[in-house]
C-alpha cells in the first residue's frame, strides 16, 4: 500500500463515487503533491454521516445547520428562519444528504488541487 492510499484510508465513509472523483481531480499531480492535496481535502471534507445528523437536528431544533456548513449561506438562512420550509426541505435533505455531501466535497477537492498547483514552482 502506498502513501496516497494510506491518506485516502484516513477519511471515514469514503464511497466509490468520491474515490473516482478524487482520482479524476488529483490525476495530474505527482505523488507528493497528491498527498498534500489529500491532506488539505481531508480538512475540508464533509462526512456524509455528519451531514445526516446535522440535518436531523432540523426536525428537533435549528434547521439549516447543514446548509451553513456546506457553505450555502443563503439557503442556510432560509432554512433557519422558515423551519426548513415547514420541515419539507429538511425531509428532502434527509433523503438527499449523500448527494449534498458529494457536491460540497467535489468543490473542496477542486479547491485543494488548485491550492497545491499554486504552491508548485
Amino acid at each position: 500500500m502506498n502513501a496516497v492510499e494510506k491518506e485516502i484510508l484516513l477519511m471515514p465513509n469514503m464511497d466509490g463515487t468520491e474515490r473516482i472523483f478524487l482520482h479524476n481531480v488529483l490525476g495530474e499531480l505527482n505523488e507528493e503533491e497528491q498527498i498534500t492535496a489529500l491532506q488539505i481535502y481531508r480538512a475540508k471534507r464533509k462526512d456524509p454521516q455528519m451531514m445526516l445528523l446535522l440535518t436531523l437536528i432540523g426536525l428537533v431544533g435549528a434547521a439549516g445547520v447543514h446548509r451553513f456548513i456546506m457553505g450555502q449561506i443563503g439557503m442556510g438562512i432560509l432554512y433557519f428562519f422558515t423551519a426548513g420550509f415547514c420541515f419539507i426541505g429538511t425531509i428532502l435533505d434527509l433523503i438527499n444528504y449523500r448527494q449534498l455531501a458529494l457536491e460540497s466535497n467535489k468543490q473542496s477537492a477542486a479547491e485543494a488541487a488548485a491550492t497545491v498547483k499554486i504552491m508548485r514552482r
Partner: protein, 135 residues
C-alpha cells in the same frame, strides 16, 4: 495511483467544467424539486385561498409556524405583487432569488465557485509576476 488507471478514468462523467453535461443531464433531483415548486407556485397555484397545507405544525393544530405563507409569498412575488408578498411573508422575495441561484448552481456546477476561482487565478498570476520580479 496507477497512471494507466488514471488515463482510463479521464473521460469520466465527473468533470468540473461548466456546460459539460448534455441533454437533460443538468437536472438533478434537488433542482427538479425546486424548479417544479417554483413553476407550480408561479403559474398554477391558487393564492387567494388556502385549501390544504403540507405543514406538519399546521396539521398538529398549532397556530405558530415560521414557514407558513412562504409558498404563497413566493407565488405573489413571481406574479409581481410585491407588497402583498411582503405582507404574507417577508422572506418571499429573497427566497425566490436564493432558490433561483441554487437551481442555476446545481445545473451548472462549474459556476458555483466562480468568485473563488477568479481570486485563485488572480493570485496565481500575481505570484508568477512576483517570481519574475525576484529574478
Amino acid at each position: 495511483m496507477n497512471a494507466l488507471f488514471l488515463r482510463s478514468l479521464r473521460p469520466c462523467i465527473f468533470s468540473f467544467k461548466p456546460f459539460r453535461s448534455k441533454g437533460l443531464g443538468f437536472l438533478k433531483p434537488e433542482s427538479i424539486i425546486w424548479l417544479g415548486s417554483l413553476l407550480w407556485l408561479g403559474l398554477f397555484a391558487n393564492l387567494e385561498q388556502q385549501r390544504w397545507s403540507l405543514c406538519p405544525l399546521h396539521a398538529l393544530g398549532l397556530d405558530f409556524c415560521p414557514g407558513c405563507g412562504l409558498g404563497r409569498s413566493i407565488g405573489m412575488a413571481m406574479r409581481g405583487q410585491f407588497a402583498a408578498s411582503w405582507a404574507m411573508h417577508p422572506l418571499g422575495i429573497p427566497s425566490f432569488l436564493i432558490l433561483l441561484h441554487r437551481v442555476v448552481v446545481l445545473s451548472f456546477p462549474g459556476l458555483s465557485g466562480l468568485p473563488q476561482k477568479l481570486k485563485t487565478r488572480l493570485f496565481n498570476s500575481f505570484a508568477k509576476f512576483a517570481r519574475h520580479e525576484r529574478r
